[in-house]
């Protein structure tokens, strides 16, 4: 194994570069090093001006999403040796405005998230103790509750690339996380947004989001499942007069 690997990192500083340029750095190639360790080596020892987000370096905070050799990944959970002998091309996540270097603006997602009401909705007061929920009931939504908001799915989504108004994979998965929770009664409140043209119906079922997801959330599955629900509701709306629904 060679002892270094070349990282080609996209640089963009507003006011300094008109558009992103690549800068090459040689970093040590070590078995344990994630792509993020390579970036940290650059920042600490070679070029302090490189900007990127990271925090937990254990694949759970969702900060460190980047495009590495063309694919959206968590840079703290993707290893340099997987790209040996290199070079490794590191770019910001796609489909988001670039703020600076590898930092993207996720404001669009943060603004959309509340629109699908990802919180538990009930009309009644909560019980003295816990709401009962069996392990099977928990399993119904568990996978959709695993989303770390890392934005890899948005970066992979060809629909979002063309139509930035699309609510998008993670937000829909989070809506489903509550819709399918036995304690929740808010499905009707989420219906308008989810079954709008920018909701599930915008998705042409490409499935790239589920492939990209590092946490097994399967947003494509959430979208498909909601399409069935929405179709059933549409049919009911058509067949039944208002009061009978």
């Amino acid at each position: 194994m060679a002892d270094t690997i070349t990282m080609q990192v996209a640089r963009y500083r507003p006011g300094q570069e008109a558009e992103p340029v690549f800068q090459s750095y040689d970093v040590p190639l070590r078995k344990e090093w994630a792509v993020l360790d390579g970036l940290n080596h650059i920042k600490d020892h070679v070029d302090g001006t490189l900007s990127y987000r990271w925090s937990c370096r254990m694949g759970i905070c969702g900060s460190c999403g980047m495009t590495v050799n063309g694919s959206p990944v968590l840079s703290c959970a993707t290893f340099l040796t997987d790209y040996a002998p290199g070079p490794v091309r590191v770019e910001p996540l796609r489909n988001f405005p670039v703020v600076r270097d590898l930092v993207v603006d996720i404001g669009d997602f943060m603004a959309k998230l509340p629109s699908v009401k990802p919180w538990l909705i009930r009309d009644d007061e909560p019980p003295e103790g816990e709401y009962l929920q069996t392990p099977d009931e928990l399993d119904d939504y568990k996978k959709f509750s695993m989303c770390i908001n890392c934005m890899l799915c948005y970066s992979a989504c060809p629909v979002y690339a063309l139509d930035p108004a699309f609510v998008g994979p993670a937000a829909i998965a989070l809506a489903q996380r509550y819709n399918l929770d036995s304690r929740d009664e808010g499905a009707a409140d989420r219906r308008d947004v989810l079954s709008s043209a920018e909701g599930v119906w915008a998705c042409t079922f490409v499935g790239e989001c589920s492939t990209a997801c590092p946490k097994g959330v399967d947003p494509a599955g959430a979208i498909q499942r909601y399409k069935l629900t929405a179709a059933t509701h549409a049919l009911k709306d058509f067949l039944l007069p208002r009061g009978a629904r």
Partner: protein, 585 residues
């Protein structure tokens, strides 16, 4: 530019979000802001794995949770605070359930609880082994439903605004633009988390740089019990990623290089095939980490490029238990060590994990400065004393986050002291000063020589590990203090190459380093003064606990020349006089 909110919460982790909700609930007419250097759901609470303790079953009692907490903390726990804590923890965890937290369940649908280190009963609520992740996202999503909570995401707080001993807001940099802003307030709640990054090998995320501790310290509030730093016995070598205590609670064993369950040699009980509470692998963290050092001294650990290790053995649990209860452990081992714990041993070593000390508060989260509150890992109430029990910290964030939120809301509602002209003047000064700093770096005009931020940081971390690690003595601490003084001097020459205002992470690293140097100094000076061994503070030159002199909290105050002045305040004892800590017998 400056904005105004009645209450500003600094930090969007478990403590900060809970505090913000509490303010909004206490008085809906108050405006509340959450200022956080990362998006709230990225806060370090997200990494917590094992669980959150609160009495749940009929076979358990508040008394027992209280006793475990007090003895676990080697009697440095304030018993009135711990009483409030054990009493309110169940209600807080239940509220999280009502907000949707996906707690793991028993077959009949009720909450499930698991064993945890130092706890005599099973009382740790868990959401598989991603408890903190689920708690944080539940809290965050719940705050989304509350439009009264205004967020300032990716704003980095650089100082507190203080006028005549009262705190009136914060100065912050909006990272996306580099603009210096002030948020004026009637009260500020610090919820900025811990400071593990002061050490080289830690489970703590990159953001845990002790900012809030330094902010309060600089503003004149004392820090309490800073000498008590918790090492967790089971971190993965190199990364420092935590293998949760839940792995041992489910039945994992710690083995030395001969495959021997060495804890039996350290007065922690006798090995049994199934886990026994408060015994062996379920002893408290301080004792387990200390046992590791002794094993190492006896030559019974295994050397690796990333330091000596022992092994955690989960193989006998089988794939089914591991996948149901510890799926994240399996995921982390496979990703970061390329091993499968179903079939292989996990290499582990002690790793800096948690700060027992912090900003001194009363049981309502009030600090010594009017208008300043603190909760979560940044604060020291103290319910953790000389050693925190695993799974007490997440509920602490909720209980004392809520208490601080309520107290701040009451304070603002009843007093309504408005920030005066002096505050606005100070805000403008602070803004100008920071602007000038930025400009100075932008011109590249540095007085004498250049120092790299990373070099100073690494040397600080090494000094802390060597001088103030699991075992320390007067000499090692004095040496660390000297090193820190040198480093502070060199810090004056540290340079920022990044001239951009947009998302300047190098400037952030510089500010974080300056906070960490303060925190490191406060740890070392507090440790130097405590001439005894208690819990996580083990002095080889003072091997015994000394209740006569040191059954007391240390308080360190910053002196004008930047040093720390230490004095002591009594521990509150309501019903359990100090006794022997007994595990495994």
């Amino acid at each position: 530019m400056s904005t105004f909110h009645n209450v500003v919460v600094v930090g969007g982790g478990g403590a900060g979000l809970r505090a913000a909700i509490a303010v909004a609930e206490a008085n809906p007419r108050l405006t509340v802001a959450v200022v956080s250097k990362v998006y709230p759901m990225r806060s370090h609470t997200v990494s917590a794995e094992g669980g959150a303790a609160a009495v749940a079953g009929p076979d358990d009692s508040l008394e027992e949770h209280l006793y475990d907490t007090i003895s676990g903390g080697d009697w440095l726990v304030d018993q009135d605070a711990a009483e409030a804590f054990v009493q309110e923890a169940p209600r807080e965890l239940l509220r999280l359930e009502h907000w949707g937290c996906p707690w793991s369940r028993q077959r009949d649908g009720r909450i499930a609880v698991r064993a945890f280190g130092g706890m005599k009963k099973k009382r740790t609520w868990f959401a598989a082994d991603k408890t903190g992740f689920h708690m944080l996202h539940t809290l965050f999503q719940t705050t989304l439903s509350n439009p009264d909570v205004v967020r300032y995401d990716e704003w980095f707080v650089t100082s507190l605004l203080v006028d005549d001993g009262q705190v009136y807001g914060v100065v912050a940099i909006e990272l996306a633009t580099g603009r210096v802003e002030t948020v004026i307030a009637n009260a500020v709640i610090l919820c900025t988390g811990g400071c593990g990054r002061v050490f080289p090998f830690t489970t703590n995320a990159n953001i845990k740089t002790g900012d809030g501790m330094a902010l309060a310290y600089r503003a004149g509030a004392p820090l309490k019990d800073m000498e008590f730093v918790q090492y967790h016995p089971t971190g993965l070598p190199f990364t420092g990623i935590l293998i949760t205590e839940a792995a041992r609670a489910e039945g994992g064993w710690l083995l030395n290089k001969d495959g021997y369950r060495y804890l039996q040699d350290y007065d922690l009980g006798t090995p049994t095939p199934h886990p026994v509470l408060r015994s062996m692998e379920l002893g408290p963290r301080d004792r387990l980490s200390q046992a590791f050092v002794h094993e190492h001294d006896k030559g019974r650990t295994t050397d690796t490029p990333y330091g000596p290790i022992v092994h955690l053995d989960l193989r006998h649990l089988g794939a089914e238990v591991i996948d149901a209860k510890l799926p994240f452990v399996r995921e982390l081992c496979s990703k970061y060590e390329n091993i499968d714990p179903v079939k292989e041993l996990i290499p582990v070593r002690p790793v800096v994990h948690y700060m027992m000390g912090g900003v001194h508060t009363d049981i309502h989260g009030a600090t010594s400065l009017t208008g300043l509150y603190a909760a979560g890992e940044v604060a020291c109430v103290s319910i953790n004393g000389a050693n925190r029990l695993g799974s007490n910290s997440l509920p602490e964030c909720l209980v004392f986050g809520a208490r601080a939120g309520q107290a701040a809301a009451e304070f603002v509602t009843s007093t309504r002291t408005a920030p005066g002209a002096a505050v606005y003047a100070q805000a403008r000064d602070a803004q100008r000063l920071l602007e000038r700093e930025f400009a100075r770096h932008a011109e590249g005009s540095h007085i004498g020589g250049r120092e790299r931020i990373a070099d100073i940081r690494t040397e600080m971390q090494t000094a802390m590990e060597n001088g103030a690690g699991i075992y320390r003595d007067g000499e090692s601490l004095a040496k660390a203090a000297d090193r820190l003084r040198d480093l502070r001097e060199r810090f004056g020459r540290a340079t920022v190459d990044d001239r951009s205002r947009t998302f300047n992470t190098e400037a952030v690293a510089l500010l974080e380093l300056s906070f960490m140097l303060d925190v490191a100094e406060s740890i070392v000076v507090s440790a130097l003064h405590r001439g005894e061994s208690r819990g996580a503070h083990q002095r080889t030159d003072f091997p015994g606990r000394d209740d006569e002199r040191f059954l007391a909290h240390s308080l360190v105050r910053r002196t004008p020349d930047g040093g720390g002045l230490v004095d002591y305040m009594p521990v509150k004892i309501t019903q359990w006089p100090p006794g022997e800590r007994v595990y495994g017998r």
